[in-house]
Symmetry: C2
Subunit: 284 residues, 2 copies
Amino acid sequence: MVELNQLVQLLAIARCGTISATAEQLHLSQPALSRSMQKLEEKLQVTLFDRQKNKLTLNQTGQLTVDQARRVVDQARDLVDRVRAFDRSQRTLAIGSCTPAPLWELAPLVSRLYPEMTIASEMKDPQDLMEGLREGLYQFVVLPHPVEGEAFYCFPFEREQLYFSLPPAHPLSGAKGLYFEDIDGESVLLLAQIGFWREVCRQKMPLTRALVQNRQEDLEELVQASALPAFVSDLAMKWGGRPENRVVIPILDPEATALYHFVCRREARKGLAPLIQQIKATMA
Amino acid sequence: MVELNQLVQLLAIARCGTISATAEQLHLSQPALSRSMQKLEEKLQVTLFDRQKNKLTLNQTGQLTVDQARRVVDQARDLVDRVRAFDRSQRTLAIGSCTPAPLWELAPLVSRLYPEMTIASEMKDPQDLMEGLREGLYQFVVLPHPVEGEAFYCFPFEREQLYFSLPPAHPLSGAKGLYFEDIDGESVLLLAQIGFWREVCRQKMPLTRALVQNRQEDLEELVQASALPAFVSDLAMKWGGRPENRVVIPILDPEATALYHFVCRREARKGLAPLIQQIKATMA
DNA sequence: CACAATTACGAGGGTCGTAAAAATG
DNA sequence: CATTTTTACGACCCTCGTAATTGTG
């Protein structure tokens, strides 16, 4: 059997032209490379080079060997990449969610149940999530609606209620409840990574300009420093506390309430059984 | 870069099941193989086996690696085969001929002109010869007819005349010339390796039973020991002498005369130029 | 004379086999 | 107790680098 090493060296020679230049590029001495190619020729029982004392060029057989070697070496490299990627995918549990809130509860739960796994979470549109689930990109996803069909297993597990966060001086700060359209048209402070809620906001408050902040801290500072409306939710307050110096008013539209559904492929249900059991026990 | 060696060993383990059995099959000690797989895992930065102190089985990543390794190893083996085959084809000059006679003259000529080449000659139907020429199986072929078309280079270079070889006691032994049909119906002695002539014989003497001999010596002995008709040709007599105790009578049908044509692919003409020149000089 | 390739030779690293240990059915 | 895997250790081979040789532009 030929050595991959020697094939790589042969490819390098085909690139560089001379043994000396190649040896330098490979961090090898010329004699070593020269002998290595002689060994390769012995193994193949074939002459690969035209040797003219001073000059060395690939002959026709050598050219063919280069072509063949390229395929083998590429495939060997692919092997390494694929094996590592597969191994990584074996050790990672990828979760897709339409909003951040469910992950706050789910992530600790998952990492406690599968301590050897690395948890990867991602936020996407519900549509992309379903596609990713079909392709095996996610072990499970969280959607704001149920999923029909034999191919999937699905159950609701958590509810999130959206609120307006208004400064006390705001004209509507005394209301017991508000609708999206009550605030529509005012500029609103928004966090970037809110997933699905971003779309709800666009739909229900088409006239509003969203002042999107990438970082949580920046948002909080602006909430304190400005008189602009913002959003919070029951889950956000549960994990992050109530915003200071703000009145919190529930939004009465049905779109302001999301019922999150756990969705996985039917085949994956068995492997996720302990997690599913735990979710149902914790959140029911 | 992984070692092909290790991949081969991994494949063997996948076949044999245990390290011990595999080591024996590979003529290796168990410890050596065990360490080799550990090295492979280190190289890949991946765990390939479930180890249970006493037992060792491929895990999922291992299975994937086996699949990938099979492809790489197969391709590496193909490389060796293809390179050797190509190298051999570079050093062999393959001639296809429809009958043996042209080779008697051609073979020495070719081997003198290309002393580093090994000469391979083969006898086939004209149809197969043309196909082989197109596929590159032959550098050139000898046909009993010209070939049209831009893709080929073709010229006639030798003529062969067929004779009946009859015992003096044969009723027709006094004839100055004979036709195939004069003998048709009699059993005839024939040599196996006469290529194209065999077909001519079948066409022109449909009633005759051919007593085919595989070896030249056997034929000669039977020609002497029997009263059966046989064939010779001017070329055969030129190289092998006249048959003893036989009268030789020319066959008058036009099919009993073959005009041999040299045919090569147009692209190959340049490489064969010295040979073509020599043939034209010698045989014209 | 600079440069390219090959040959000669000693040093170092890697792989092998034997021996021993640990664990299982 | 036989079987399987892993660890320990010494021997050997193989490849590497340095140095020297040969040949070319």
